[in-house]
Amino acid sequence: MKREETNAPVTRTNETADRQGSGSAAKKSGAKAAPADIGTIGMLRWAWRQLTTMRVALILLLILALAAIPGSLFPQRIQDPGRVTRFIEENGRWGEILDSLQVFDVYSSFWFSAVYILLMISLVGCILPRTAQHWRAMRARPPKAPRRLTRMPGYATFPLGDDDPADLLDLAEERLRKHGYRTARNADHIAAERGYLKETGNLVFHAAVLGTVITMAVGALLGYSGQRVLVEGDTFTNSLVSYDSFERGTYFDADRLDDYRLRLNSFTSTFDDEAIGNQFGQPRSFEADITAFHDGAETQHRVRVNEPIRIDGSRIYLTGNGYAPVLTTRDADGDVTFSGPVVFLPQDGVYTSRGVLKVPDASPEQLGFVGILLPTAALNDDGELVSEFAELRNPYLVMSAYAGDLGLDDGVPQSVYELEAENMAEVIDPAGVPVTLQLAPGETTDLPGGHGSVTFEGVQTFIALDIRHDPTQGLLLLFSTLLLAGLGLSLFIPRRRVWVRVNGAEVEVAALARGEDPRVEQTVEDLAVELND
């Protein structure tokens, strides 16, 4: 039902209960304060009625839109906890205040939750009575014609002529039925109504909104997601300990992890070396060749960005990739203290990558290296060493070295991508200058001070996998489909009432639209012309 408008003359005269809440006369006049002396129950009922008015639903929607915005302005923990930590550190006191206001966890914050929970309650309070009302309306006879049909937005008359009034009404009833109206025969007129699906659609839509929100909440409780980095040749076994990071819903059960293994056979990426301007160097393909071992069977998968592997309830996504230089360190005696690929995280579009190598077995002291890998090294105009392309065309590794205590035995978990160098000193050359190791593949450099040597063997690629499980997704799809379908019905099915009345020697045809209906006049006229034939 629409509010009245001068040029959209839809009256609400026939409505029993309007959606703005029955008995809204007081509210309409702006009397929003609760009446005094109504007691707790009275207060609650008053609050409930307020909450389920359309005006409040509207205000809540606008507040919801506003409340969602900070999540795009401030870093969010659900996206990037590291950035949040850095942001708080950089902003000191302000950062802490913002944090206590949950600005970095907007979508689980008390204020955001409050708004959407109120909206959901309002929604329930709106859907239930309307469903009951609609149910009754669908089973009731179309309401009788009001006394003065001339007031209706669509109105036409024609002389009855020599026709028998009963025949004409029969004809009218038949025509209206054929056009999908439900009709009721009254003494001197036919009352008809069509478009009940509009309200049905509207209710389905609102219920589906509710269903979607609840399903998403439940999904977060039941599901899990985990991340794992795999270098070419590595195998991943699906168990909690194999994940680099893992987030679980409250009711997630680790025993239910699907049983499978994945091996990354190879990964290839290509970048655009032909395009001009800012399109040069953009990625064009990422492709991982993975073997899955599951239920005693072996399957081959080509995993691309939009093409996950699905195994039972788990889905495995390719979400990142990069280079892992293969490094070997030896002590002064030539014994190998470390050998293998080290994952370097890409920092920019040309894959300038940063990584850390920790060698706890080095002697005489533990060693740590912080390095930058340039996939296609070149000198820029300022004579600085940079990478100019993301593919491995001229890989070059630049590292600094630290000696001392890596702090791995403190029991405090450390990131493999950060070197905690508090108890370490930079390795210096005999002149007292910190050494910078610069290596091309195949090259070896000796470290000063009896720290042995480092060899840059070559480069492998790695991928980052996201592994997820969410048992509610089918339901979510169902609800969103219902949501869309309900909305379509709600907005496009015209709902109108039509009356055909024999009034003495005249036949009156009138129609009243409920909601938007551009064709109401046309309908009346077509019907009148049809009946007059």
């Binding site: 929607l61 869309l484 496009f492």
Partner: protein
């Protein structure tokens, strides 16, 4: 990574040509709307109202020709009452003479008077403006509309050559997206013209497209190239074009909302010399209805965009919804338009306030595109800038 740079440069050339023609159309439209045409006073117009109703009938009969005449006799005697809820003022037939300057489009109830013997009653008052539009100004509008068609042909040509130069859909980055969206907005406008005379919007539409293309070819300019892996999926054929269509629809709706607000303002102030051009615009209630209907379609397509986006996000990143900055703003836009639809059905929210919500929705949509894509971090990082 095949790119036909020859075709790509043709695309740029066509873009510039389209801009030139849009610019001329813009100027002609502006003359049509604001130009030196003297207007009859509203009183005179309202005095003619009854005449209009029958004149409209005549116009309709003209249009539907002999068939209507034949029906006329059979149907004589039906008397129709119209409250003018949506009396369209469309002069598809620009050739109609001064006695019958306007005739109803399919969307309105008008034009039906042609079925002989009808004693029409139009009380909407919307018919008045039809009388204000003399043949001269309509001629300008007609020229401008033809120019717009020509510009649009060039514009679509630019989009197509761009697509052909890379042999993929023309919406892989912001420049292509905006170019295509502007073309669709132009098409929406022209299609809407078939139902209603909205040529008063012409200045606005051509101006907005002109500005959009200007931004595309400069700030958003992205050389032709293939897609990044994140975009290589069939959902790009579903999610993005529907988003573009929504953008176009909601933009046209917002343009109408703007006119609605101005018109309502001028209605409340009565005739004034400076706002004289407003007399050529239909009543604010009439505009509101068209604006609403277009926004309703736009809202459905936007809802679809949101859902399709969630499905794609599930495919690409493993979750349908993750509050990525682009997702946040798409949601914000959706909620604002939901509020707009609600406000329309809520008492105490007058049409002007509702129209302001429409404009806020538009502002958030523009923000979502122009600002979020460029300045906000997130997974949707393929602006091309």
């Amino acid at each position: 990574m095949d790119v036909d740079y020859e075709l790509a440069s043709w695309s740029n050339l066509l873009t510039y040509s389209a801009m030139a023609v849009y610019a001329i159309a813009f100027i002609v439209y502006a003359f049509d709307l604001f130009g030196g045409q003297r207007l009859r006073s509203t009183e005179a117009a309202s005095g003619d109202r009854k005449a209009t109703a029958s004149a409209r009938g005549a116009g309709a009969a003209d249009r539907s020709g002999a068939r209507a005449d034949a029906r006329t006799s059979a149907r004589s005697g039906v008397r129709r009452t119209s409250r003018g809820a949506s009396v369209a003022v469309l002069d598809e037939a620009d050739t109609t003479t001064a006695e019958a300057p306007a005739s109803g489009g399919p969307a309105g109830g008008a034009g039906s008077g042609g079925r002989g013997g009808v004693k029409g009653r139009a009380s909407g008052g919307d018919a008045a403006e039809a009388l204000d539009l003399g043949p001269r100004s309509r001629k300008l509008a007609r020229i401008a509309t033809s120019l717009t068609v020509l510009a649009l042909v060039l514009h679509v040509g630019a989009v197509l050559t761009r697509a052909l130069s890379v042999m993929r859909v023309p919406w892989g980055n912001m420049m292509e997206y905006a170019m295509t969206a502007a073309a669709i907005a132009g098409i929406v406008y022209l299609v809407a013209l078939r139902f209603r005379d909205m040529r008063y919007l012409g200045t606005f539409v051509t101006g907005a497209i002109l500005v959009t293309l200007g931004v595309c070819i400069t700030v958003f300019y992205t050389p032709a190239a293939q897609l990044v892996p994140a975009l290589q999926n069939y959902w790009i054929y579903i999610h993005v074009p529907i988003a573009i269509l929504s953008t176009a629809l909601l933009s046209v709706s917002a343009a109408l909302a703007l006119f609605q607000i101005c018109k309502a303002w001028s209605e409340s102030r009565g005739s004034s010399r400076r706002l004289a051009f407003m007399d050529r615009v239909p009543s604010s209630g009439d505009i509101e209805q068209v604006s609403y209907r277009i926004a309703a379609v736009g809202f459905i397509t936007w809802t679809f965009t949101l859902i399709a986006g969630a499905i794609w996000a599930e495919l690409a990143w493993g979750r349908p919804w993750g509050w990525d900055s682009k997702e946040i703003w798409t949601f914000v836009v959706w909620v604002i338009y939901a509020a707009y639809l609600h406000a329309r059905a809520t008492r105490g929210w007058g049409p002007t306030k509702v129209a302001v919500l429409n404009l806020i929705g538009m502002a958030s949509l523009v923000f979502n595109f122009a600002i979020v894509n460029v300045y906000f971090d997130g997974l949707h990082s393929y602006s091309g800038i």
